[in-house]
C-alpha cells in the first residue's frame, strides 16, 4: 500500500491585512473554502476547526500577530503524498484571497483569477511578503513545561500560540539552545503563565519555513502584557539578534503569533453538511 498512515495535527495562521477584507475573507472561507477542503481531504481529516483570532493586544505586532484565525486540522495521512496529487475539483481560490491574507501585494484591483490550493499555500515569503503558515506538528505536544494539572474547571484560558524560526545565520541547535536556556525557563517561572508547551514543526512534510511552535496560557491580555512585554524585556538578547526588543526576531518572518480562546468557532467536520 503506498499511502502511509501519518497522524498529525496542522496549524494554519490566517491573517487579514485590512479591515475592509475581513468579512470578504470570512465569506470566502464559509461559502467556498470549507466545502472545497472537505471534498478534497474530508475522508482522511478527523478534525477541522476554526479558532477566530482575538484582537491583537498592545505591542502584539512585535510578535507577528495574525488577525483572522487559527485553522486546525487533524490528519490520518499527509496531504502531500504523491498518490494524492490528482484532485477532482480545484479549490476556488481567486488571487483576491491571497491579497486579503497579505501573501501578495495589496492593490486596489479585484483579482479574480483562480489559483490551485497547493500553489496558494506555497505563496508568500518573498519580496518582503510573509510566508503562508501551514505547520504540521505531532498529534500531542512534545514537551510540557508547566500546568499539566489544569482541568476545564480551572476556567477560561487566554491562549498565546506562536511559531518561530531563527535567522538564516543561526543553526536550529544554537537557536533552540537560547530558547530552552534563556526564554522558556523565564516564562515558566512567571506566575502569569499557567501553561507552557512546545513541539517541533515537522518541516519534512511540506517545507514549512518555521521550525517550532510554542503555546502559553494566561488569564488575559493584561497578564500577557506583563509577562511577554514587561518581564520578558529582561530576557537576554542573543548575539545573533538583529532586533532590539524581545523576542528579537523579525515579526511575520521569524515569529508569528495568534491569540485565541479555548473555544473553536466551528468544527467543520461535525457541523458542515454540504
Amino acid at each position: 500500500m503506498s499511502v502511509e498512515f501519518q497522524p498529525m495535527r496542522s496549524l494554519i495562521y490566517v491573517d487579514v491585512v485590512k479591515e475592509d477584507y475581513r468579512h470578504q475573507l470570512k465569506h470566502w472561507l464559509h461559502r467556498y473554502h470549507i466545502a472545497d477542503s472537505i471534498s478534497q481531504f474530508g475522508p482522511y481529516v478527523t478534525k477541522y476547526a476554526f479558532y477566530p483570532a482575538l484582537p491583537t493586544p498592545p505591542e502584539g505586532e512585535r510578535f507577528g500577530t495574525v488577525r483572522m484565525q487559527l485553522t486546525e486540522h487533524y490528519w490520518l495521512i499527509s496531504p502531500f503524498q504523491n498518490d494524492l496529487k490528482v484532485k477532482t475539483i480545484t479549490e476556488y481560490m481567486p488571487l483576491d484571497t491571497l491579497k486579503w491574507q497579505g501573501m501578495i501585494p495589496d492593490t486596489d484591483e479585484h483579482l479574480s483569477e483562480n489559483m490551485d490550493g497547493d500553489t496558494h499555500r506555497s505563496s508568500g515569503g518573498k519580496d518582503d511578503l510573509p510566508p503562508f503558515i501551514f505547520a504540521f506538528v505531532p498529534v500531542c505536544w512534545e514537551e510540557d513545561f508547566k500546568g499539566k494539572e489544569r482541568t476545564v474547571e480551572d476556567g477560561p484560558n487566554y491562549r498565546w500560540q506562536f511559531v518561530l524560526r531563527y535567522p538564516d545565520c543561526v543553526s536550529k541547535e544554537e537557536g533552540d539552545g537560547w530558547l530552552y536556556k534563556d526564554v522558556i525557563p523565564v516564562f515558566a517561572e512567571m506566575p502569569e503563565v499557567t501553561r507552557l508547551l512546545t513541539s517541533r514543526i515537522k518541516q519534512e512534510v511540506n517545507s514549512c519555513p518555521y521550525n517550532r511552535v510554542v503555546e502559553m496560557w494566561f488569564d488575559g491580555p493584561s497578564s500577557w502584557y506583563r509577562a511577554a512585554v514587561e518581564k520578558a524585556a529582561y530576557i537576554k538578547k542573543p548575539g545573533w539578534a538583529k532586533h532590539d526588543k524581545f523576542p528579537y526576531l523579525r515579526p511575520r518572518f521569524e515569529i508569528s503569533s495568534i491569540f485565541v480562546t479555548d473555544i473553536a468557532e466551528i468544527d467543520n467536520m461535525t457541523q458542515y453538511r454540504g
Copy 2:
C-alpha cells in the same frame, strides 16, 4: 388557552468593556448560557444565533458600537407571558457577567454572586451605565427603503445595525419625523449604501428603552466611514439635539450599533447538543 402565539424576532446587543473580559464572557456564554437558555425556552425558540461583532471602525464609538456580539432569537411566544414565570432551573449568571458587559461598574473584584436572568436583563440603564439591550421586533422588516433585489450572489455584506431612541424631551413622532425626512433619504441616496431597512421595536413586550432598529449594508468599513461619518456630517442637526456631530444622539443610551457579517458564528438550536 392562556399562552398566546406571538412570533417575533429579538435582538440582544452584547458589549464587552475590556479585552481582559472577552474570553471570559465567551466562555460563560458557551459553557453555561447557551444550555441555560435552551433549557428555559428551547421548545418555543426556533432560531438562536450568535453573530460576533466586527472590530469597531474609526469613529464607531460615537455610534455606541458594542464589541462582543449580536444574539438573535426567533420566538413562537413571548418569554414574558405570565404563564412562563416559573423556571425549573435559574440561569447561572454571576454578577461578573454584568460587569463584563458594562451593566454594573467595572471593579477589580470577582463578583460570583448569582442573579436570575430576568433581573440580569433589566439591569443597567442607571447611574450612567447603559441599559441591557433586548429588543423584540417583527419577524420580517417593516420598511424596505433600498436594495430589495439583492441576492446571495451579490457577495458579502458589511452590515451596520443600530437601535435608537430620541431624548426624553422629544416625542417619537417628532424624532421619527426627523429620521424619515432628514436621515433615511440621505442614506438611501448614497451609493455606499446597498440595503436599508427599518422596524419599530415592540416596546410593549419588555419595555425596551429603544424604539426603532435600522439596518444598512455596505461594502466594508471604508464605505461605511465615507457614508456615516463623512457624508452624514452634512445631515441637519435637529433642534432638540444635545450632541454636535451626527447622529446627534448619546452613544450607548440613545443609539447603540453593531457591525456584523452575514454569517452567524453558531446557530445554537441546530448545533448544540446538551
Copy 3:
C-alpha cells in the same frame, strides 16, 4: 399580534422538461434554493423535505406526471401574510430555473436575469404553459377511504399523489360529485389500491388553481397500471369531459401527478447546515 397561527402542509410539484436540465435544476436547488428558503422562512417551517419523482410509468403522461420532485413543507404560519412581505435577501432564481421547470417557453438561450420568489411561484399557467403547483393543505388528510390499518411493517409503498381541478364550466360541487360517486369508490374497491386519502386544497391561501389532492398507494407501477389505466378505463366519462380517456382531464392543467416512495431524499430542516 398580527401574524396568525396557521399550521399547514404545502406541496410543490416540480417538473423538469428535458433531461438536459435535470442536473442543472438539482444543482440550483441544492446550491442556492434550500439556503434561500431556509433563510426566508426557516424559523416558521418545521419540515421541508424533497421526495424525488420516480420514473413516469407507461401512460403516466396522461395524468400530468411531473418528473423532478415533490417538495413538502409544514408551516406554522402562512408565508403570504402581509407582515411577511419584506425579505432581507431576494431568492436567487434566474429565469433559467423557470425554463427548466416548464413555466416559461423552452428556448436555447441562457436566461440569467433574476426573479423574486413570489413572482416565480405565480408564473406559468398562461399561453399554454402549465401553472406552478404550490398547494396548501391541512396538516392531516381530511378523508380516509381505505387502508388506515397499514403500518411500516407492511412494507414499501408506491405512492401516487395527484392534484386536480375541474374544467372552468364545471362547479366544484358538480366535479366533486363525480369524483366521490364514480371515481373514489371504484378505486377503493380495487385490490391494487392499499391506501386512499384526499383533502381539499386551501385555495384561499395563495390562489392555487387546483382544488383537491388525492393520494393512493400501490405495490408498484404494474399494479398502478392495472388500476389507473386498465380498470379505470371503465369509469364513466362525465358529461362535461373534453378528453376521451380517464381521468378525462387536461394533463398538467386540470390534473398533475407525481409518483414517489415513502422515503424523503432530504429533510432540509434537520440536515442542512448553512
Copy 4:
C-alpha cells in the same frame, strides 16, 4: 383556521412489568415507536425526550413507581384536535407492547396483533390494571414552593416526579386542600428537599385520570427515603384515606411516581434521523 395554538408539555410514565420485557420494550421504542411518533406529530412537537427510570428505591412501590422511562413532549398543538384524526400510517403497536407495560394481563402468549396508538393510549385502567399515564401540563410549572435559586452549578439532582388523583369519593378541592395544607408545607420544610414544584394536569385535553403532578428534588435515594418514607410517616392521614401509610393513596391508580436524573437519554427531535 381550525387548528388551535396550544403549547403544552406532556408526560408519559412508562412501566415495565417484568425484567424479561425491558429489552423488548426498549427495542420496540427505538426501532418502531420513535419513528412512528415523529412521522405522526413531528412538525408540531418541539421536544421529545426519554428519561430512563432510575431503579426503584426501597418502599418506592408504595408510591406507584414505574420502572421504564418518562417520555416528555413539548407540543405546539393538541394531538387530539378533530382535524388531526386521520393518520397516514398507523403506529406499529402489537398487543405485546401493552402487556410489557402492564396495561393488559401478562400472559405467556406472544400477542402480535396491532392496535392503533390512540386505542393503545386509552387502554388500561380497568379490571385492576392501571391506566396508561399520558398527562398534559402547562409549558412551565404553575407553582414553585422551594428552590427557585438553584442553578446547574448546584450539582446533579435526584428527581422524584409523581402524578396523583384522589379517591372517587373525594373532590379535587378537598384533596388539594389536604395536599396544600398537610403535605406540601411539610416537604418544603425538610432540608432533604431542594426543589418543589407542582402543576395541575390539563385533564380537558385527553381525560387523563390523574389531576396533579408534583416534582421534588433530593440529593439521592437515601435523602428521598428519609423524607418520603421516614419523615412523611408523620403526615396526617386524611379522613377519606383507605391506605394506612403515606401517601395514603392506591399505588398505580391514585399515585404513580418516577425517579429520574437531570439528563435525558435521548432527545429524539434533534438526534433521530429516519
Copy 5:
C-alpha cells in the same frame, strides 16, 4: 498488529432490473442496509454516500448503464482482511434483493431466504447474469487527462463513470494500449468533454472482475450523446472486438456505466443516526 492501514475508495454500481423493484430496493437500502453496513464497518469507513443514477440517456444501454445508484465508500482498512471475518450480526439480505439488482434470475416468486453480505457481493457473473460490481480504487484518481482547473464555480457537471475489462482473450496491456492510444485522446480533444480521469481498479483486494474505471464530465446528456455515440462512432474498432459499435465491449459484462450529478443523495456517515 495484524490489521493493515489501507486507505481506499470503493465504488458499487447498483442496478434495478424492473421499475416494480425500484421502491422496494430503496426501502431495503434505507430501512436495513445502511444500518447493517454502518454496524459492520462504520468505525473504519469515513465516507459512505449514495449517488442516485440519472435516467439512462438514449443508447446508454450499449454502455451497460445501471439504473439505481452509485454507492461510494472511503475506507481506512480493507474489509476483506482475515481479522475482520467474524461479524456480530449478519446483514439482512433476502434473496429478493439480488433479484431486484439482476444478480439472480428475475422470477415471480418472493425470495425471502437470507444471504450473508459477502456471498451476496460475490454473486452474479455466471449463467449470463452480470457480476456484482464492487471496485476498490485509490483514494485519488491516478491519471488526469483534462479539466484539472475546474472549480465549483464552473457549474454543475453531468458525470459519466464507467468500469471496463477487456475480453478474456485480450491482455490488460493490449486493452489499455487501445484505450490510451485510440480512445482517451479522442475524448480529451472533444469540446463536449470537460473533465477526464482514470484509475486502475485494485483487483487484488476482492477479485473484482473489472480492471479500470474512467470518469468524464459533460454539460448534459445531449453533449454526452454527441461525444460518446456520434463522435466516438469513428473510434477505431480493435481487432479483438466482438461488438460492432463503440465501445466494442459487452454491456454489463465488459463495460458498466453510471450517470450521476455532483450531489450525493445522502452521506450516511454524517446523516444516519441509528
Copy 6:
C-alpha cells in the same frame, strides 16, 4: 512516523457501588467526562458509545456484574503510545468518581481532589478493591461458536458479556483449556444461547488484568438464569477452583459481567457537540 496504526475496540465496565451515587456518576460522565475524552482522543477514536447496564438478574452478583454501563471505543491508535503522553488539559476526575465506581474505599467524605485519567484508570485492584476494567480487543470477534446467521430481523437480544482471568496459579493455557473444553461447548448446545463469541484481550496494550472476553445472547434474563445458573451448575469444577459454584471464579476479580441491550444510549462521537 512514530505513531502506529492500531485499530482496536476497547471495553470499559463501569460499576456503581451504591444507588446514591448513580445520578452523580451519570452527571459527571455527561457534564465532564465525555467532553474531556473527546478533547483528548477524539480525532483518533471513531466510535465512543455508552450502553447502560440492565438490572442485575438473580444470582448475577456471582458473575461479578457491574451496574452502571459498558463504555465502548473504537480506536485508530493506541492511546498509550509514548508520543501521546502529553495532554493539553487534564481530565476532570475528582477522587469521588473513583469512590462511586468502587476503586477506592467508600467513605462518607466528599473527595474533590483531582486525578489524571491514566492514574485513574490504573487504580483499583488492590486491598480487596476490584481493578478498573479497560480491555482492548480486536476490532472483530476472533471466534464465533454459535448464531452467525442472526440478523436484526431476529429481534432484540439480551446480551451477556463478561471478561475473565484465571487464578494466579493457573496458566492461561490451562484455564482456556477448561473454558474451551468444558464451558463453551456446553453453552453452545443450550437452546437458550442464541449467539456465542469470544476474543483474547490484548493485555500487551495496557496490562489489563483480564485475559479473555466472552459474549452470549439470550431471549431475556429468565433464559439467562436457566442457562448460566441452572444448567451451568452441572459444568465440571476445575481442580484449581476455589469457588464452589459456576463460574468457579472470584467475582469482580476473576470474572466481571455486564448485561446490555443492542441499543447504545449515546454515540458520543456523532451526538456530542461541545
